[in-house]
Subunit: 451 residues, 2 copies
C-alpha cells in the first residue's frame, strides 16, 4: 500500500492555508486523508492551528481524529472548544471512546458537555460507562452491539439487524438474549446467511458463548480474548444482562500499553512518559529511580569503608568491585525479566523448590564459566596473588548465585502478595544486588585472605 | 465467564484414563472443552500422553489444539505422528497455520506430509505460502478469504459467498476483484445486507481499500493495521492480484512477540527463551551478555589500576566507585529505553540538535540534584575532604550528562543505520557507561585533587 509520508513541505502548506484562513482549499486538501493521517498532521502543528482544523472539518472525521491523538495534546485542543462543540464530536463517537474522552475533562465541563449531546440515548449510555473503573471490562466496553431476541425469526432478525447495524461500526457477532435481556448465546453472520428465513433464532443460535462480567479486570479480559482467539466478547452485569461488548482493537492497545509499562519499569522509568514529554515530567518519572540507585551506591560506599583493612592491605581487591557489581546487576536483571515475563504470560509452571534447583544450576554454570576466565585474567594480567585470584573467582560464583536467586524470587513473592512483579525489575533489583554482591565479595575476600 | 482452572486432580484423572486406555470416558470428558483449554492440559502431560490424546480426538479439535501449543512441545508430538496423521491435522487448519507448522518439519517429512493432504487446492495453497519469509506479509497471510467479482449482482454474490464462507472461519470483509483477480476494493457485510439484490457489485463496493504487498515487512503490516484500526488487510502480489489476507489476531501475536523481544534485549537475554526452557538453552541466551559485562568490568579494573596514585593517596575516592557506576548505568538505561520506545512507536519527532539540548537539560537537573545530596553526605557522613567531595559531585554531574547522551544517541545512530536499536539497551549500554563513567570520575578527581 502507499504509505503516508508527512513532509515538511506539506506541513508548511497547511500552516500557510490556516494563516490565510483559506478554508475551502484546506477542506478539499484534507478530504482525501485518512483520519489517522490527519491526527499525525495535527501533532506537527501548534495547538491553535490544530484547533482550527478540528473546528473546520466535519465532526464525522474529527471525532475519529481526536480519538487518535495523544491524551495530553487532545486535552489542550479540547480546552479550546466549547462544551457544545465537544458534544458534537462525542455524538459521532462510539460510546467507549466518548466515555474515555469525557473522563479526561473537569467535572463541571463534563456535565455541560453531556447536557449538549443531542442523542439522549447515546448520552445516557456514556454516563453509564463513566461509572466503571477504566481497568475493568466495564471501562473497556462499548454499548454498541447487535442484539436479537431468541423468539424472533431469521427474516425478522435480518430486518432488525439492518436497523441496528447503522450504529455499529463493525459487526463481529450477533448476540442472542431472552426477553429480559439476559445473554443466551450468539449467532454468526455465516449462520444467518445460510439459515432459512422462517426458522426461529432459538433453533439456530449457538448457546455456547464466552463472556465477561463488567467487573472482570482488563488484564483478565485480554488474557481470555487472546487465549480463545476472540475478536469480540460480550459483557454482562451481575444479573447476566447483556450490557456491552469489547472488541479486539481495544485489547491490542491494552496489550501494548502493558508491555510498554513493563519495559519502562525494567528501565527504571515510571510509566507513561515519552521522549517528547517536558523536562519536568521526565524528571518526575526518572529521578526517583536514580535516587534509589544513589542510596544503593552510598550503601555500597559504607560497606567498603567497613572493610578498612582491605583498603590498606589488599588494594588490588578493590579494582574488581566494578566487575562484581556489573555481574550481580546483569544476572539479577536477566533472572527477574524471565520470571516477570513468565508470570505475565502465565507460563510459569512447577513448584518453587524445582525452580530453586534449576536457577541454582543455571547460575552455577554461568558463574563457573565467568569465574574461571576472571581468575586467569586477574592472575596473569593484573598480577593478583593466588589467594586474591581465588577470592575473586569464589566471590563471582557466590555473587552470581545470590543475584540469580534474588532476581527470581523477589518477583515471585511480590506476585503472590498481589503486587505487580514488574516493579521488582530494573533499578530495584540492580540496587539490592549491588549491595549484596559487594558485601558478599568482601566477606569472601576476608575469609580467604584472612585479614 | 467461568474461568477454566486446571486442577491437579483433573490432570491425574486424565493420566489414569490414558493408562487404562479408557477412550470412551476420555472422549466424553474432553468433548466439552475449548481447544485452548485442551492445549493447556497437554502441556501438563508427558509427550506420549499428549500424543495419545491428539490421536484419540477428532482432528477438527486437535488441529486447533496443535496451533495453540508451544513450538518445542508441538514438534515433539509431531515426531510421534506419521506423515499421514499430520496431513489429517493440516487438512483442518487454515493455510497460514498449516504453513507455519509444516515449516517446522524436516524437508523430507514436509514432502511426505504434503503428499498426504487430501484437499489438493489446500495443499497447493500451503506450498505456495511456504515460499515467503516468515517476517513478511506473505509469511503472515492466509489464503482463505471471501472474494467477489465486480461484475456480479448482489444476489449472486450472496449465493457465492455462502459457498466460500464454508472455508473461512471469520468473514471480516469481502474483497472485490476484476475478472483477472486484481484487487479493486471491498464490500462490508453491512452494505451487502442493505443493498438491493439486483444491483451490481461494481455499483455498491468501496473502491478505497488498504492493502499490503506480499513482501511488506511484518513490522510495517502491524504498524499499518494498528494505525488505521484494521481487523483484516488484503495482500496482493507484485501484479496487484489478490493473494491472501492477514487478520488482526496474527498481528496481536506479532506485537506481543516484538514487545517481549525488546524487553528481553533490555534485560540482556537473547530472544525466545522462557522460564521453562532447559539450563543449556538458557545459558546460551544469557551467558554472552554476562561476558560483555565481564569484559566491561575488566576494562574498569584496568582503568582503576591506571590511576595508581589514587589507590595510594586518595583511597576514599575509591569507595564511591559503585555509586558512580550504578548512576551511570541507571541513567543510560532510562535514556535508551525512552528513545527505543519512541523509535518503535514512531513518536520521536524534532531534529537531533533539539534532542541534544533537551537531554542535556534533563541530565543537568537530575545530575545537580543527586550531586548535591551526595556531596553533602560524603562530606558529613564519610568525612571526605572539601576537594574530594567536590570531585565526587562534579564527577556525578559529568557522568550523568555523559550517560544520558550515550544512552540517547547510540539507539538513534543504530536506527539510522538500519540496526534494531533495542540491542543497544541493557548490558550493552550499561557496560559502556560503566567504563566511560569510571574513567570520567578518575579524570575529574585527578584534575581537582591534582595528583
Amino acid at each position: 500500500m502507499m504509505q503516508f509520508q508527512l513532509t515538511d513541505e506539506f506541513i508548511e502548506q497547511v500552516e500557510q492555508l490556516i494563516a490565510n484562513n483559506d478554508d475551502e482549499t484546506l477542506t478539499s486538501l484534507l478530504e482525501e486523508f485518512h483520519f489517522a493521517d490527519i491526527a499525525e498532521l495535527l501533532h506537527e502543528l501548534n495547538t491553535d492551528e490544530a484547533t482550527y482544523i478540528v473546528k473546520l472539518l466535519d465532526s464525522e472525521v474529527t471525532s475519529e481524529v481526536l480519538i487518535e491523538l495523544d491524551d495530553d495534546y487532545r486535552e489542550r485542543i479540547l480546552d479550546n472548544l466549547t462544551p457544545s462543540e465537544i458534544a458534537d464530536e462525542l455524538d459521532e463517537m462510539d460510546t467507549d471512546d466518548a466515555a474515555d474522552i469525557i473522563a479526561e475533562l473537569d467535572d463541571d465541563v463534563q456535565k455541560q458537555v453531556i447536557g449538549h449531546i443531542e442523542d439522549e440515548e447515546h448520552a445516557a449510555d456514556i454516563v453509564d460507562l463513566l461509572r466503571y473503573d477504566e481497568d475493568t471490562a466495564g471501562g473497556l466496553m462499548a454499548k454498541e452491539l447487535v442484539r436479537v431476541k431468541e423468539s424472533w425469526t431469521v427474516a425478522g432478525c435480518v430486518r432488525e439487524m439492518r436497523r441496528q447495524a447503522e450504529n455499529v461500526t463493525r459487526v463481529h457477532s450477533i448476540y442472542v438474549t431472552d426477553k429480559h435481556g439476559k445473554l443466551k448465546g450468539r449467532l454468526s453472520l455465516k449462520d444467518l446467511l445460510t439459515a432459512p428465513g422462517r426458522a426461529h433464532i432459538s433453533e439456530v443460535y449457538i448457546p455456547k458463548v464466552d463472556y465477561v462480567n463488567v467487573h472482570t479486570e482488563a488484564e483478565d479480559v485480554a488474557r481470555i480474548m487472546q487465549k480463545y482467539d476472540l475478536e469480540a466478547i460480550p459483557v454482562v452485569d451481575d444479573n447476566g444482562i447483556l450490557v456491552g461488548r469489547i472488541t479486539i482493537d481495544d485489547i491490542v492497545d491494552f496489550i501494548k500499553e502493558e508491555a510498554e509499562k513493563d519495559y519502562q519499569m525494567a528501565a527504571g522509568i515510571s510509566q507513561d512518559v515519552e521522549a517528547d514529554d517536558g523536562v519536568f515530567k521526565q524528571t518526575r518519572a526518572r529521578l526517583p529511580w536514580l535516587l534509589i540507585g544513589m542510596f544503593g551506591g552510598l550503601g555500597a560506599a559504607s560497606i567498603i569503608s567497613g572493610f578498612q583493612e582491605i583498603l590498606e592491605s589488599f588494594p588490588r581487591i578493590l579494582i574488581f568491585v566494578p566487575l562484581i557489581q556489573a555481574t550481580a546487576g546483569n544476572v539479577g536483571v536477566q533472572s527477574s525479566a524471565i520470571v516477570v515475563q513468565g508470570l505475565a504470560n502465565n507460563t510459569l509452571k512447577g513448584n518453587i523448590l524445582a525452580r530453586l534447583f534449576k536457577e541454582s544450576g543455571l547460575a552455577l554454570v554461568n558463574g563457573c564459566s565467568i569465574a574461571l576466565i576472571v581468575l586467569l585474567i586477574s592472575h596473569f594480567v593484573f598480577h593478583t596473588s593466588y589467594l586474591e585470584s581465588i577470592s575473586i573467582g569464589a566471590a563471582l560464583i557466590s555473587v552470581i548465585l545470590l543475584a540469580a536467586l534474588i532476581g527470581t524470587f523477589i518477583p515471585i513473592i511480590l506476585d503472590k502478595r498481589g503486587i505487580d512483579p514488574a516493579v521488582a525489575t530494573g533499578p530495584f533489583i540492580t540496587t539490592s544486588n549491588d549491595i549484596f554482591g559487594i558485601l558478599t565479595y568482601f566477606l569472601i575476600a576476608k575469609l580467604i585472605l584472612g585479614f
